[in-house]
Structures are given as structure tokens and as C-alpha cells.
């Protein structure tokens, strides 16, 4: 059981696992401390200074090392300056004030400073409506700016980092979430800072630009509209979009997605999918998606979509009614029951496959899976146990990847494997509900991921 620590935030006493960051502890207690550069899945850096709060700790006597008491309570010694909640870990008896006048002044000043160089792009910026800078400015910022508009710094505005992600250098607040994500979570450090001071800007270090299959995730965690996807650029306003849960159908990871749709005149009054966003499922894809899942959904809108049943007449395929087509096929199948074969692929849902199998079985035909890979029956016997979470594995565990290139075949598993390699504290896996899968360091868990044929030369 991890050591628990008690502390007071805004007068509220809470208990959290030892090692929790103050900003995360506050979040668990329902208190929001504003942040820009902090992300619960990234290492803290304290770069943006938005989470400035007053932190006090029990005063210790220099000579005895004992807590100094005052009126029966530990005497709390506040730091003379504001501290960043994102870089401080909780300690026993800590007192945090997030809405005191000092803290508010610090937060207000930080927002004002960030806005001095930020362009007035809200009307044309894709992030408007789901923009942390907008929201936190309304909540914590000053009402007026003391900065002269004409003296704002101008930088390049439409920079394609690769053909999928666009960068607007003026909007960037140098929080480095994108750089740190690529480095820590994606494991491909293809973004970096260039120049210095206010001219600090993001550049792509790879050729072709932004050469990572996880590039779309940076547009999710960017707190401003600096990084936007070419897919959704100038597409729609977030408040116009309806959200519907879905699953990515491109690889066997089964990432949870959200389809954002809108009825629009441009599509002839039809409801269309405007973008694919991740949906949180910590045990599958956490909050990430790979670019294939994020951008390849357009295949459902291709002009070559089949829309009417067709029947071959005089060696040409001609339109037919559903009844006629179904009857024709049924007659032919019934006449060839002994030679009836169903060939289906894993592009289909369970319900589709089950009906097909039921039909094949009832008629006495064969149900063949269109695939080069066998061995599925073994996963029914020796598959991973219920409760498996690859990303939660850590020191002492082993993942044996046999004849498979996870990066190309199941990118989010590659990412999860990356995550499990990072040294982590238990708190990074904590949940509000008490149903964890157990302590990390004591377990020995090999997991065998396999694919492809036996003669792969890389093994």
C-alpha cells in the first residue's frame, strides 16, 4: 500500500498517495489549479508559471528537527515567493492556497504576459471554443491589457510541420507540451525548440517534416491553436459538433475514438464526420490515437462507396432492388450447398461475422477468415488474462514481441510499451475508484505479442 500523505488545499483537508504533484492532488480534490505546460501524463517542468500558488510547510526547528508547534497546531512556514504547484510534490502537513490574493495576482500576471505576444486570432483560430488559453484568460486573466497592440511580435503564421500538422508560431506559448510528448511518450523526439527569448519557436527535426505516426496527439494537448491538423483546419467550431463514441477499425488495438459530426451546407445538407478525436480508455489507448486512426476515416466518404445493390446481366453489373439481388444470391447458394464458402475479413463487426457463421453452419458450408495469420484459437486458450493493461506494466515485467513491428502494425501498443519502460511512480496510475491492478514493481509479467512467419531475420 503506497504511503498516504495528508495536506490542506484551500482549507480542505485531503489525503493522497505520497509523490503526487500538488496540482494533481488539487485536481483529485476537485480544486482546479490553472496550468498550461503541465500535463498529467508528462514529466513536470514548471515552464509556464501559470500554476503559481502559495505553499506553506510545517516549520521544523533547526536544532531538534522537530515540528514547531503554535497554539497546538504545527506552525506553517510559507515560502516568500509563489511556487509552481506542478513541480512540487505533496508533503505531510502542507498547506496550499490557490485563491489567495497573492496567488491570484501571480496567475493574472502570467496570463497577461502570455497574451502580450499572443495574436488576436480567436475569430479565425481552430482552437476557439476548446481553447485552454481562452478559458483560463476568462477565469484568471486581467480584463484589460497594458501592452501596446502595435508592438506585438510577428512570426510565421502558417507553417506546415509536415503535411498533416500546421504550426502557427505567433500563437505558440512555448509550453513545450508537444516536444515533451514526442520525446517521452511517442519516443520519437522529432520536435525541438529553436531560437531563444520571445523568438523561441517549434521546429521539426525530421525530414519529411514531423515524421511521427503520433503527430496528431500534439494538436490535442497544445493549449493554444498553434498546432492544428490539416484535416480539421477551418473545418467547424467545436460547439457545433456532436460527439459519438466509436472504435478505430484500422488495427487490432481497438483505440476508443469520438466521431465529431455536423450537418453542413457544404455537404449538401448531410451530416458528416468532421474529425476523429480520442476517447479516454486508460487500459487501451489512454488518451491517444495514431495518425492512421485519426485521419484515415475518410475512406468512409470516398466517391467509390457502393450505394445500390448490383446484379450481373449480360456481363455487366446493373442496378437491382434489394429483394431481387438477395433472391438471386440465395438461389445460387441454395443450389450449391455442398460448395458454399463464406470468405470474410476482420473488417467486419462481431454481429456481421456471427450471422455469416450461422448461415455457413446451417447450410453446411465453410467459413474462411481472409487472413495470412493463424493461431487465433490459441489466444482463446492462452490469451492475456482479464484486467490486462500493457501501459501499466513496468520494472520486472517483460514484453516479448515476436515477428511483429508494433510501430507499423499496432502503433498504440508500441506507445504503451514505451510508456511501460519509463520509470514511474505508482501515483501516475491512480484512479478515483479503488480498482487498481496491483503494485507495479513486485510483478513479473511476460506478455507475448506475435505476428508474421517464422523466418523473420530480425529475431
Amino acid at each position: 500500500m503506497t504511503k498516504q500523505v495528508s495536506l490542506t488545499i484551500n482549507g480542505k483537508q485531503i489525503t493522497v498517495p505520497d509523490g503526487t504533484l500538488v496540482v494533481d492532488a488539487a485536481k483529485m480534490a476537485g480544486i482546479d489549479i490553472p496550468v498550461f505546460c503541465h500535463h498529467p501524463k508528462l514529466e513536470p517542468v514548471g515552464m509556464c508559471r501559470m500554476c503559481l500558488v502559495e505553499i506553506g510547510r510545517p516549520m521544523l526547528d533547526r536544532n531538534t528537527g522537530q515540528v514547531v508547534m503554535e497554539n497546538g497546531q504545527p506552525k506553517i512556514q510559507f515560502m516568500p515567493k509563489l511556487e509552481t504547484a506542478c513541480t512540487n510534490r505533496v508533503s505531510e502537513g502542507m498547506v496550499v492556497m490557490t485563491v489567495s490574493d497573492n496567488a491570484k495576482e501571480g496567475q493574472r500576471g502570467t496570463v497577461e504576459l502570455l497574451l502580450t505576444s499572443h495574436p488576436l486570432d480567436c475569430p479565425i483560430c481552430d482552437k476557439g471554443g476548446e481553447c485552454p488559453l481562452q478559458n483560463l484568460t476568462m477565469q484568471f486573466g486581467p480584463g484589460k491589457s497594458r501592452f501596446l497592440y502595435d508592438e506585438k511580435l510577428h512570426l510565421e503564421k502558417q507553417v506546415p510541420l509536415g503535411e498533416l500538422i500546421w504550426l502557427d508560431r505567433e500563437r505558440c506559448i512555448q509550453c513545450a507540451r508537444c516536444i515533451r510528448f514526442q520525446d517521452e511518450i511517442a519516443g520519437e523526439a522529432v520536435l525541438g525548440f529553436d531560437e531563444r527569448g520571445r523568438n523561441t519557436q517549434i521546429i521539426s527535426l525530421s525530414d519529411p517534416g514531423f515524421d511521427s505516426v503520433f503527430s496528431g496527439n500534439t494538436t490535442d494537448i497544445c493549449p493554444v491553436g498553434a498546432l492544428t491538423t490539416a484535416d480539421f483546419r477551418f473545418g467547424a467550431r467545436p460547439w457545433e459538433l456532436k460527439a459519438q463514441a466509436s472504435i478505430c477499425t484500422q488495427c487490432p488495438v481497438g483505440c476508443n475514438t469520438t466521431l465529431n459530426t455536423r450537418r453542413e451546407a457544404k455537404a449538401g445538407g448531410e451530416i458528416v464526420v468532421k474529425r476523429v478525436m480520442p476517447r479516454q480508455n486508460e487500459e487501451v489507448n489512454e488518451i491517444w490515437l495514431c495518425d492512421k486512426g485519426r485521419f484515415a476515416y475518410h475512406y468512409t466518404e470516398n466517391k467509390k462507396r457502393l450505394t445500390r445493390p448490383l446484379v450481373r446481366k449480360d456481363d455487366k453489373l446493373a442496378r437491382a432492388s434489394w429483394d431481387a439481388a438477395a433472391k438471386f444470391a440465395a438461389e445460387k447458394f441454395s443450389a450449391n450447398k455442398k460448395d458454399f464458402v463464406v470468405l470474410a475479413s476482420g473488417r467486419l463487426a462481431n454481429e456481421d461475422l456471427f450471422n455469416l457463421k450461422s448461415l455457413a453452419d446451417t447450410v453446411g458450408g465453410r467459413a474462411i477468415l481472409y487472413s495470412d495469420m493463424g493461431g487465433g484459437g490459441l489466444t482463446r486458450l492462452a490469451g492475456v488474462g482479464a484486467g490486462t493493461n500493457i501501459g501499466a506494466m513496468g520494472a520486472g515485467d517483460a514484453i516479448l514481441v515476436v515477428a511483429s513491428d508494433l510501430y507499423e502494425e499496432a502503433p498504440i501498443w508500441w506507445c504503451a510499451r514505451q510508456t511501460s519502460r519509463r520509470p514511474r511512480r505508482d501515483v501516475d496510475r491512480c484512479q478515483p475508484a479503488p480498482d487498481q491492478t496491483g503494485p507495479l514493481c513486485e510483478v513479473r509479467h511476460p506478455l507475448c505479442l506475435r505476428r508474421r512467419s517464422k523466418n523473420h531475420p530480425r529475431l
Binding site: 478525436m277 470468405l343 470474410a344 456471427f354
Partner: protein, 332 residues
């Protein structure tokens, strides 16, 4: 076509896990990195791949659903041209629909609801987000229509009912329902529209976390793993190379090339080989070579890769050259 080889490999892996006592618990076991999203579901339901698919199709009445064998492999196109009858059900026009006798238009996953099983055996629901295109119907409904005309009654209106019938007949799915799959619980970190400053613009999960199936080993059943049949390794002759298939994330597969958006990332067909192999063939990086085996011909651009064993050439699948398993090939 690779089925026997991969099955043997799977047996070997499963044996390793069983003998080291690493099955039957969470975070222990075998995971298949399948070629398609719901291959796991297909296996659960009882579909099996076929080693010699061309032979299995010739002269038969074939009902092809969600597959494009004619477009993937000229040998399979030939087999289908020699089939007695071909009905194809798919969402997009393909080489297979071109040669079909009947074509049924199916709905894409964005237009209907259903469930999929991930490689980790997690059953998850997906929901309909946009209306159906044209007259298309969901795959299970089309099968029900055809079946009805054959005197076989299958549920064709409600996917939830199909799922219930399936859960009733397949042991691993016994406790599952659409309601159970839609259950959620609180997750960390807290994300969602109100918390997008904290975790980003990802959406919170309100419509289902899915449920992982329990493998036989965990449920207390006996796990009997088929013996691995050893086969002699392929040895390339004087003018041959061992062509080994590898996968690319962005390939010419029907769900990627028709997306058009990722077109620039697909690139061309590259054949990777060790510098010594290239020297022996008298080719250099960037040169276009002809690859041929088993009635398949194609062109590829040479890429030098020191991590590839000598005598081996790595060929990507899904890029126009129909390679299914390691095979001896001529490269000029």
C-alpha cells in the same frame, strides 16, 4: 499462404508461456497482432484462415464479405474467375466487386453500431454517427436478408439482439450484453470538455469501456497446445533471395489509399536488403528492381539496411506485390 507458419509460431509462443507459467492471469499471455481490427472477433466466432485459399475458392459458390482478394493477389483473382458464383458485400468498389455476380452495398462503421474484439480480447462497442450512404445496409442485416431467402432465419434488425444470441452460444461471451459493454467508471487523469486545460481536447468516455474476455487458462480450463510441426527452413538457391513480408502502417490497403488524406505518407514499394546482398545482385540504393515469385511480378526500389540478414529481402505487404509468407524470390 502463411497460415501454417504463423500457427506454428503461435504454438511455439504459447508453449513458452505455458512452460514458464505465464498464462491465466492479467498481464500474462498471448496477444495476436492481427492484420485487421476484428480478426480476434472472427476467431472467437469460429472463422479459420485457409492455407491454400485459391484452391478453396475454385469452383465454389462464394460469399465474400469485407475482403478484396482479387485486388490483393492475381492468383486469387484467377481462382475467383474460376468460381461457380461470386457474391460480394463491401463498402467500396474494388477489383473483387468488379468481377462479382452480385454486389451488396454495406454500411461503413460510422453509419451503424456493433462490437469489435481487440487483440487483447476486449469487446468494445461502436455507435452510429452519420446516416447510411445511399441504400446501403449493415452487413448483418444483408446476411439476414439472403439467409431468409434460403430458409434460414437470422436476426436482421437489431445488432443488440444479434449480440445477445451470440453471447448465448459462445462461452467466452456468456456474461456480456450491450448494457455491460456501455458501462464506464471514473478514470485518471480527469479529462473532458470542462477539463481540457488539464488533459487536452480528448473526449471523456461516457459510452463504454468495454469488457475483456477471460481466456480458458484463467477460467480454469485445460490448455492443450498443438504440437509445433518442424519444417525445413527455406534456403535460397544461387540466384534467389528469401523474400520476407513486413508491414507498413500506411499502405495501399483499401481503408488507407481511399482516404486520400494520407497519400503522401504511403510512399513507394521498397525492398530492403543488406549491402552485401545488393552488391552480389549488382544493384544499389534507389535502383528499381523486378521481383518475381509464384506467378507474382512486381517492381520495387532498393533500400540498403544493415540490420537485414544477408540473402534476405524485406518486402512490404499491401503495396501491390502479393507476398503472404516468406518465399523464395528472384530479384533482378
Amino acid at each position: 499462404m502463411g497460415v501454417n507458419g504463423t500457427s506454428a509460431l503461435a504454438s511455439a509462443c504459447a508453449n513458452l508461456l505455458k512452460e514458464t507459467n505465464h498464462i491465466g492471469r492479467a498481464n500474462n499471455g498471448l496477444v495476436g497482432v492481427w492484420q485487421r481490427a476484428n480478426d480476434q472477433g472472427a476467431f472467437e466466432i469460429g472463422f479459420e484462415p485457409e492455407e491454400d485459399l485459391a484452391k478453396a475458392l475454385k469452383g465454389k459458390a462464394v460469399y465474400i464479405v469485407g475482403a478484396d482478394p482479387a485486388g490483393d493477389d492475381p492468383n486469387l483473382a484467377k481462382a475467383l474467375n474460376g468460381a461457380r458464383f461470386v457474391a460480394v458485400q463491401d463498402i467500396l468498389e474494388t477489383a473483387t466487386t468488379e468481377l462479382a455476380d452480385v454486389v451488396f452495398p454495406a454500411q461503413a462503421f460510422t453509419e451503424r453500431e456493433g462490437t469489435l474484439v481487440s487483440g487483447e480480447r476486449r469487446v468494445q462497442r461502436f455507435y452510429a454517427a452519420v446516416p447510411a450512404k445511399g441504400d446501403s445496409k449493415p452487413d448483418f442485416a444483408i446476411t439476414s436478408m439472403v439467409a431468409k431467402q434460403m430458409g434460414v432465419i437470422l436476426e436482421g434488425s437489431s445488432p443488440s439482439v444479434v449480440f445477445d444470441i451470440m453471447a448465448n452460444s459462445i462461452e467466452a461471451f456468456n456474461d456480456l450484453t450491450y448494457e455491460k459493454l456501455a458501462e464506464v467508471h471514473g478514470q485518471w487523469p480527469i479529462v473532458g470538455r470542462g477539463d481540457l486545460y488539464y488533459g487536452g481536447t480528448t473526449y471523456e468516455n461516457t459510452q463504454g469501456l468495454g469488457v475483456q474476455l477471460v481466456p480458458m487458462a484463467q477460467a480454469g480450463g485445460t490448455v492443450r497446445i498443438p504440437k509445433v510441426r518442424k519444417e525445413a527452413a527455406l534456403r535460397p538457391k544461387e540466384k534467389e533471395l528469401l523474400a520476407v513480408p513486413v508491414n507498413k502502417l500506411y499502405d495501399l490497403g483499401v481503408t488507407v489509399r481511399t482516404a486520400e488524406f494520407l497519400g503522401k505518407r504511403i510512399g513507394g514499394t521498397q525492398v530492403a536488403m543488406h549491402p552485401a546482398t545488393a552488391a552480389k545482385l549488382n544493384v544499389e540504393a534507389g535502383q528499381v528492381v523486378k521481383v518475381s515469385f509464384d506467378g507474382v511480378n512486381g517492381e520495387a526500389v532498393v533500400k540498403i539496411d544493415e540490420t537485414v540478414a544477408t540473402g534476405v529481402a524485406l518486402l512490404p505487404r499491401g503495396m501491390g506485390i502479393a507476398i503472404h509468407e516468406p518465399t523464395l524470390a528472384k530479384v533482378k
